[in-house]
């Protein structure tokens, strides 16, 4: 444990206390907050060293780096909270390069008055998520802003990872004939969050799918790494945005099959209620992979053998299309486009 940290008097009242401006002022209170909540929750040898940075070993290969900010509302939702989400999200962004995530950083902007007990819950879930994924949080930062200048807590996480030799996944690599594989049911995260949103609360038996996908990706890479053209985690904007993004980057089109896309009945029901399309709803523990046709079978089998890929399915294929349309065969035998969402997804009035 850092000697300077140990020197602080331990008077952090986590059960009843609230974050105040002194917790971000760089003095003793800030030390207490960092030690009493973050270091305790993330505990590892790098943090114990007590530096403003962490030195770490870099294995051979190509490095990847990613960063993301988390401003989710509400902060706590069925199946997770902003903390676990911030860990899973950055791990997944790194894993989508077929990389092995190595280390994370975490930066907090906390609103004055935020309950310490909630901060502790968030930090503990981050520690648990990072340990579960085998990716330690080795450095961080804390700022406290005045009441009204943030929405409880904002978290930024960054991460680094290393890509196994011989793999180079690129956004423009999809080719006509390639298979599109989805790792599981869609829309769970978005509906879980919406079910707890102010003015919209409804009872839904849906929990967020928030999860670290690095283990699933490692299994896919082992089964057919060189056959994987590219991967994406379909977060905000759902699989509709993800497929459109890949289509425009690879200058191809997609044909997908509505019946092959798993959607939980509870998610379908909530989407009906709110006038939303599950294809546009966010996910936090799913991936879409585009794979060469000869490798699709082995990759799919490896995914189905992993707990996070049991429902994996080939949901369509890549086609040549100058317009980069994502087309879908509906369950009625008709056809439609699956488009980007225009602006924010807003419920219809009737």
């Amino acid at each position: 444990m850092n000697m300077m940290m140990e020197a602080h008097s331990r008077n952090l009242d986590v059960a009843n206390g609230r974050v105040d401006l002194s917790h971000g002022a760089g003095g003793r209170a800030m030390g207490e907050l960092i030690e009493g909540i973050f270091h305790k929750a993330f505990d590892n040898i790098w943090l114990r060293a007590g530096n403003d940075q962490s030195a770490f070993t870099v294995p051979g290969g190509r490095m990847v780096m990613s960063t993301d900010g988390y401003v989710v509302s509400p902060l706590f939702f069925p199946g997770g909270n902003i903390g676990s989400l911030a860990v899973h999200g950055t791990i997944n962004d790194i894993a989508m390069a077929a990389a092995r995530p190595l280390y994370l950083s975490a930066s907090f902007i906390i609103e004055e008055g935020f309950p310490l007990a909630d901060l502790e819950r968030i930090a503990e879930s981050m520690g648990s998520a990072s340990r579960g994924a085998g990716v330690p949080i080795i450095t961080g930062d804390t700022k406290v802003v005045e009441r009204g200048k943030a929405d409880g807590v904002f978290i930024s996480t960054s991460g680094v990872g290393v890509v196994p030799d011989g793999l180079d996944l690129r956004a423009d690599a999809a080719r006509p004939g390639d298979a599109v594989i989805l790792s599981g049911s869609i829309g769970d995260h978005g509906i879980a969050v919406m079910s707890k949103r102010e003015n919209l609360e409804f009872d839904a038996a849906v929990v967020s799918d928030s999860a670290a996908l690095n283990g699933l990706v490692a299994a896919m890479v082992e089964a057919g790494g060189r056959q994987i053209r590219l991967m994406r985690d379909p977060t905000r904007g759902g699989i509709a945005a993800t497929l459109n993004e890949i289509a425009s980057q690879s200058k191809v089109g997609f044909h997908i099959d509505e019946e092959a896309i798993p959607v939980k009945p509870e998610v379908t029901a909530a989407c009906e209620l709110l006038g939303l399309d599950p294809l546009n709803v966010a996910n936090e523990g799913k991936l879409v992979a585009v794979a060469a046709p000869e490798g699709a079978k082995a990759i799919l089998a490896a995914m189905r053998a992993h707990p996070l890929g049991r429902e994996a399915a080939v949901v369509g294929h890549v086609v040549a299309d100058d317009d980069c349309f994502v087309q879908m065969s509906t369950s009625f035998g008709g056809g439609r486009i699956v488009d980007w969402l225009s602006g924010e997804q807003l419920p219809r009035i009737c």
């Binding site: 317009d323 009625f332 035998g333 056809g335 219809r348």
Partner: protein, 385 residues
């Protein structure tokens, strides 16, 4: 999912599609207008057009309340919301509609206006109760479906003596719009567009019943089938219309018997009549002024009428002259016939009313069906070659 899956049964849909194919007389063509934006959305989202024979075509009608709200009234709402004492509550899909200056409620909110998206009139009431120092205005729009909840909000506000709650009323009525389409020169005289029958609104009819359409069916000799919003409802309604036409009948039929009766929800109608009265005339975006087509609060409720309480001024604002929304809303033209469609007018940059809401004919075609335009162009190109 109970009460949903039954109406999305692919096998049944194909059975009905086969019956439609065998019922449609190859020697004639059939044009059916779905009045309601909800039907337009379903037809596009489920690709139902692909299941119809070439001589059975759907014509998209004007039934989207967001689409037909004139931009002058959006401008008036924005001006009101910019006043410091006002909290404007609105349904989400109004947020992106732009006024004549290119402003929207979304932009006004970013500029500091207190605009809150609500999911029901009761949310607006709750805000008024929780924040008595604010003047809370509910921006009310919609057809007969959303008018009863507005009446309920008004009734509740009066009962609770909420002095800081008022309504900016933009409710419109369906029969006036149907009448306008059937009386339009394009349909009556020019023969530019053929409308052989109507798919009547679902939720609207749950309130007003099927009786109001009997006049149109008789006077204009056009069959009407009131249908629900599920894909099977819509395709069954097409079959019912085909059968009426082949038989030379023109009556009102009710496909949506699980929710609609001939007289409708009489209690809701009475509540609406208690609080609202028809306006002499109301502007519909793309259709112009339509007589007795809009509602306002009765004079005795002037204290709750935002237009009077805040002396609101609404301007008549013209759409872009190149915009073909007026013709598209009357079924005279299709979205892809408009020069602006997909070029400067998209769901991200809507110019006309039909692109404004996701239920508008142009937005539905752009979002779900624009690949068909490309396919038709390719077919035409091959034919020429």
């Amino acid at each position: 999912m109970k009460y949903i899956d039954e109406y999305r049964n692919g096998r049944l849909t194909h059975d009905i599609a086969r019956q439609i194919a065998s019922t449609a007389d190859p020697a004639r063509s059939y044009h059916f207008m779905e009045f309601c934006g909800g039907h337009t959305h379903v037809i596009s989202r489920y690709g139902l057009e692909d299941l119809l024979p070439d001589n059975v075509r759907m014509v998209h009608g004007p039934g989207c309340p967001v689409c037909v709200l004139p931009i002058g009234r959006i401008g008036a709402a924005i001006a009101l919301a910019m006043r410091p004492e006002i909290t404007l509550c609105t349904y989400g899909d109004l947020m992106r509609v732009r006024d004549r200056n290119g402003w929207s409620l979304l932009k006004a909110k970013a500029a500091g206006a207190d605009i809150r998206m609500v999911y029901s009139t009761l949310d607006a009431l709750r805000i008024a109760e929780a924040e008595p120092q604010r003047e809370v205005v509910f921006f009310a729009i919609g057809f007969e479906t959303t008018t009863p909840p507005t009446a309920l909000a008004l009734k509740t506000a009066i009962a609770r003596k909420l002095g800081n709650f008022s309504i900016f009323c933009n409710h419109v009525v369906t029969p006036a719009a149907i009448h306008s389409i059937l009386e339009s020169p394009d349909v009556r005289e020019f023969g530019t567009i053929k409308i052989d029958g109507f798919i009547g609104p679902a939720h609207v009819s749950a309130v007003i019943g099927t009786k109001p359409y009997e006049f149109f069916a008789e006077k204009f000799r056009k069959p009407v089938v009131v249908a629900g919003f599920e894909p099977l409802d819509v395709i069954q309604a097409v079959l019912m219309l085909l059968r009426q036409i082949n038989d030379g009948r023109h009556v009102v039929e009710n496909q949506y018997i699980r929710a609609v009766t001939r007289l409708g929800n009489v209690k809701a109608q009475a509540e609406v009549a208690n609080f609202f009265e028809p306006r002499e005339s109301f502007e519909w975006r793309g259709l112009g002024e339509l007589r007795l087509s809009g509602l306002r609060l009765r004079p005795q409720y002037a204290a709750y009428d935002a237009e009077k309480r805040f002396s609101m001024v609404t301007f008549r604002a013209e759409d872009n002259p190149a915009c073909e929304c007026g013709s598209i809303l009357r079924g005279v033209k299709k979205p892809a016939d408009c020069k602006l469609f997909g070029r400067v007018c998209t769901p991200d940059t809507p110019i006309g009313s039909c692109m404004v809401s996701s239920e508008g004919a142009c937005a539905a075609h752009w979002t779900y069906g624009r690949f068909r335009t490309k396919a038709r162009q390719s077919d035409a190109g091959r034919a020429v070659a």
